[in-house]
């Protein structure tokens, strides 16, 4: 149990005062603390957006890359250094919008990373355009007559891809979210957790609206039941059942075969390749003239 003060950084926070992102930040610190993950054992990865600033506010290794590209970056890091707990923490626009293809293919790979989506249903940093999770009909600072297309359903998509940990959290529920994050981080393999995070600046609804709709998943829900999990997932964006929607025992994670071959641990610690391997490949390309017999 590491006290959360140890995750403090010197970066000046740039969020709006009172933003529920602070709740996610605290819950994540608490989850890391109670999992005894020291800052240097963790790598936080993000893209660009308000949510994507999170890694600057929690002491850990940081890879704050390009908008939409947090997931491939996290996969690269996890392969290069499997000893790190690699956690993506970025926005709904970043992960479901610009980065949608990477999420889709991450389901297939099952890398041992956790993806936390700060789902405020808006592009906040760019000042209030609709995001892939904005409800149809909601007015934004780009969709003035209301968003005219349906929201993405990436939790249901995760489930049909048999992603082994799919959950929804609520930024205002510190206790519950901390627990969910702990489970997601502990889960071996890919874990996706969509955290409903009301935006108090650009959002169309007061926090209370979200709070009302962020109700716990009934305790009798069987998280191995695909159809029910999908049905729960698809309740969004009208309501947000909170908890683990879908969970399956861990299966082979991405990169395992490689590690079995070359050795476990960070790649930079591997011994250099035996020069004989290269030399043998070069040699195989060498052709020695045979005595000529003549035509």
């Amino acid at each position: 149990m590491i006290p959360i003060e140890q995750y403090r950084t010197t970066a000046e926070n740039q969020w709006c005062p009172g933003c529920p992102n602070f709740g996610i930040q605290t819950a994540l610190k608490r989850a890391l603390g109670s999992l005894n993950l020291a800052p240097h054992q963790v790598c936080l990865v993000s893209g660009i957006g308000q949510a994507a600033k999170t890694p600057h506010y929690i002491a850990a290794h940081v890879f704050n890359g390009l908008h939409g590209r947090a997931i491939p970056a996290a996969i690269g890091i996890q392969i290069a250094n499997p000893d790190l707990k690699t956690i993506v923490t970025s926005g709904d626009g970043c992960i479901f919008g610009e980065g949608g293809n990477h999420l889709l293919h991450a389901f297939r790979r099952n890398p041992d990373i956790t993806v936390i989506v700060h789902d405020n249903q808006i592009y906040a940093l760019t000042k209030g355009q609709g995001s892939p999770t904005t409800r149809r009909g909601e007015k934004t600072r780009m969709q003035f007559d209301g968003v005219a297309i349906d929201p993405s359903q990436m939790l249901a998509t995760a489930i049909v891809h048999d992603c082994t940990f799919v959950a929804r959290g609520y930024a205002g529920d510190l206790e519950g979210l901390t627990e969910l994050l702990k489970r997601a981080i502990e889960h071996r393999g890919f874990s996706l957790i969509d955290v409903i995070q009301p935006c108090i600046t650009w959002g169309n609804h007061p926090v209370a609206w979200y709070k009302e709709r962020a109700t716990p998943i009934p305790t009798d829900h069987d998280p191995t039941h695909r159809d029910r999990a999908i049905a729960l997932a698809l309740e969004a964006p009208d309501s947000f059942p909170i908890g683990v929607l879908y969970e399956k025992p861990a299966r082979e994670v991405f990169g395992e075969t490689y590690r079995q071959k070359v050795g476990d641990g960070p790649i930079f610690k591997l011994p250099p390749l035996a020069p004989s391997i290269i030399q043998s490949r070069l040699k195989a390309m060498q052709i020695h003239p045979a005595p000529r017999v003549g035509a």
């Binding site: 240097h40 890091i77 490689y258 070359v262 790649i267 060498q286 045979a290």
Partner: protein
């Protein structure tokens, strides 16, 4: 006699590669140096393609053939214009075509009840024409087909013998070809083979890439040979590929990726990210003719400007364009070294011609030790700052997770610690200057161009990348005609070294594009007066003959 050009022509999937490989290897085993190249359409079966062997000549392409072996008559017709005077054509002739007719398919069917043996018959014919011993040919064939059952192998050897015997009577003194040979061992290697092996030797451990001709082969080499120890992932797209590779590098795995122009376009945001985050990354851009999809299986040197300027904002980078396997090994070592030391992206330009050509080279070697690690010793860092301002612009680099020191890598403009900054007064200018200082220092390490026979030259041919072989051949041929010609060849194309070129010399640039990209680069960077530009943009590699024709004022070869 020297320098013979042999084209094996046919359609995709028909086996020109098999015939070509067997014959080329048999030549090499008989001490003849060979250079092979391929040209083919963007399809899997059908069309016209050729496997080209240049025997006991330089490692450079020739566009005309002294021998054409045609696996089908359409191909025979398609390639008949490439015949040099005195060209021997054999195989399935075009209707009305002259040459030695060998009905490969009919013979195979007749004698072996299967079309599968046609290629071995063809290899036998060609071997006989080239004066390779039948034994050696058979041996080479067995080596190449070691996976086949003994029974099938025996039948193939019989087929080869049949071809050999079939053609022998038709050969007279003038049609048999005697080639120079030596007893030295040659390595038969392509530039992409060299790139892959050198990358591994240099310490590369990670490659995510997306298939794209003509770059795919590099990834395939890694994937096929897990002992090389490279983690290879076929990404969902080029954007994932570069972001995975870059982040793996940031976490301490030496990394590269490879693609062609269109994929590189998608990677340019990542190139800029490597520049901003100061992450070492080697990116191979294997060029093909554009724009857009262009000619996917053809060659070009059209992406020079894009490689130099692709990516938003300003940051240090180098661009290397090797010309042959040895040069490629050097370039890859240099690329990884610069990437590590200057903590920035380094691009390596190749092209389809280089990807699909095999060179005979002697004494090729790859260093036994990897490029030194650019990672700092964590025990030396007090309070660690990933972007610490230093005199040379280079901050001690720790990898993510290397030690207890927290490493913060940030795509925004950042403080020394790696946090987002809005400090325009001090931090931003300091970080810009830090990055540019690295470029200044990198520039000091740029080697001069390769000088070839320039001492007394009145005319100097300037080239870069894959055209070196053709240019050197052109120089030699012109020298042979008594002309004082030399060449300057650039493998490092960005940044350019400081040049001081004698003014009285006549300079020509030679490159595989239509706008003279390198010529313009030279003009932007230095004071040079060009008398002419030779540009080839038909999708085929530059060859010596077309250079000579252009220099002689005959534009037909190049503009056609």
């Amino acid at each position: 006699m020297k320098d013979r050009s042999i084209f094996i022509v046919g359609s995709a999937g028909e086996g020109i590669q098999t015939v070509g490989d067997v014959v080329a290897r048999a030549l090499l085993r008989s001490g003849v140096s060979v250079f092979t190249s391929k040209e083919y359409e963007s399809r899997i079966r059908g069309g016209n393609s050729s496997y080209r062997i240049r025997a006991s000549g330089p490692n450079a392409p020739r566009h005309d053939a002294d021998v054409i072996l045609a696996l089908n008559s359409t191909a025979a017709a398609h390639y008949q214009d490439t015949a040099s005077s005195n060209c021997l054509v054999l195989g399935e002739l075009s209707p009305g075509g002259e040459g030695i007719r060998v009905p490969f398919q009919a013979l195979a069917k007749e004698q072996f009840s299967s079309l599968l043996y046609a290629n071995s018959i063809a290899a036998g014919c060609l071997g006989a024409v080239l004066g390779i011993s039948q034994e050696l040919l058979a041996d080479t064939l067995c080596e190449r087909f070691s996976r086949l059952t003994e029974e099938v192998l025996r039948l193939n050897v019989d087929a080869l013998a049949l071809g050999y015997k079939h053609v022998l009577p038709s050969l007279d003194a003038s049609s048999t070809i005697v080639l120079d040979s030596s007893s030295s061992a040659h390595s038969f290697i392509s530039v992409h083979d060299a790139i892959a092996l050198a990358a591994v030797a240099a310490g590369c451990r990670f490659m995510a890439a997306y298939p794209m001709s003509p770059a795919t082969g590099i990834m395939t080499t890694f994937a096929k040979d897990p002992e090389l120890g490279v983690f290879v992932e076929q990404a969902e797209d080029e954007i994932a590929a570069i972001n995975m590779s870059l982040a793996a590098s940031a976490a301490g795995a030496r990394a590269m990726t490879a693609t062609s122009g269109g994929g590189f376009a998608l990677m340019t945001e990542g190139i800029s990210l490597a520049g901003m985050t100061e992450t070492p990354l080697v990116v191979v851009v294997a060029q093909r003719p554009g724009p857009a999809t262009g000619l996917p299986t053809r060659t070009a040197q059209e992406d020079l400007n894009f490689a130099i300027h692709g990516g938003h904002g300003e940051f240090p980078r180098a661009v290397l364009a090797p010309s042959d396997p040895k040069d490629a090994i050097d370039a890859i070592y240099r690329a990884f070294d610069w990437a590590e030391r200057f903590q920035t992206p380094v691009l390596v330009l190749s092209d389809q011609f280089l990807a699909d050509s095999h060179f005979s080279v002697m004494d090729i070697s790859i260093p036994q030790t990897p490029v030194p690690s650019g990672l700092a010793d964590p025990s030396e860092s007090g309070a660690y700052q990933r972007y610490a301002l230093t005199e040379d612009g280079i901050s001690p680099r720790l990898a993510l997770g290397q030690s207890e020191h927290l490493v913060r890598i940030d795509s925004d403009e950042h403080t020394e610690e790696g946090h987002i900054t809005e400090d325009l007064e001090f931090v931003r200018p300091a970080m810009v200057e830090k990055r540019l200082e690295k470029m200044r220092r990198l520039k000091r390490e740029i080697p001069p161009p390769d000088d070839y026979r320039t001492d007394d030259a009145e005319t100097v041919l300037i080239s870069w990348g894959s055209s070196r072989g053709a240019v050197v051949e052109a120089v030699d041929r012109l020298r042979g005609m008594g002309q004082r010609v030399g060449s300057l060849h650039f493998t490092t194309v960005w940044p350019l070294p400081q040049l001081s070129l004698p003014a009285e010399v006549k300079y020509w640039t030679i490159e595989g594009n239509a706008t003279g990209q390198f010529a313009r680069l030279l003009q932007a960077e230095g004071d040079i007066q060009l008398v002419g530009k030779i540009e080839r943009y038909d999708g085929m590699p530059i060859d010596a003959a077309s250079i000579l024709a252009e220099l002689a004022g005959d534009h037909s070869e190049v503009d056609a």
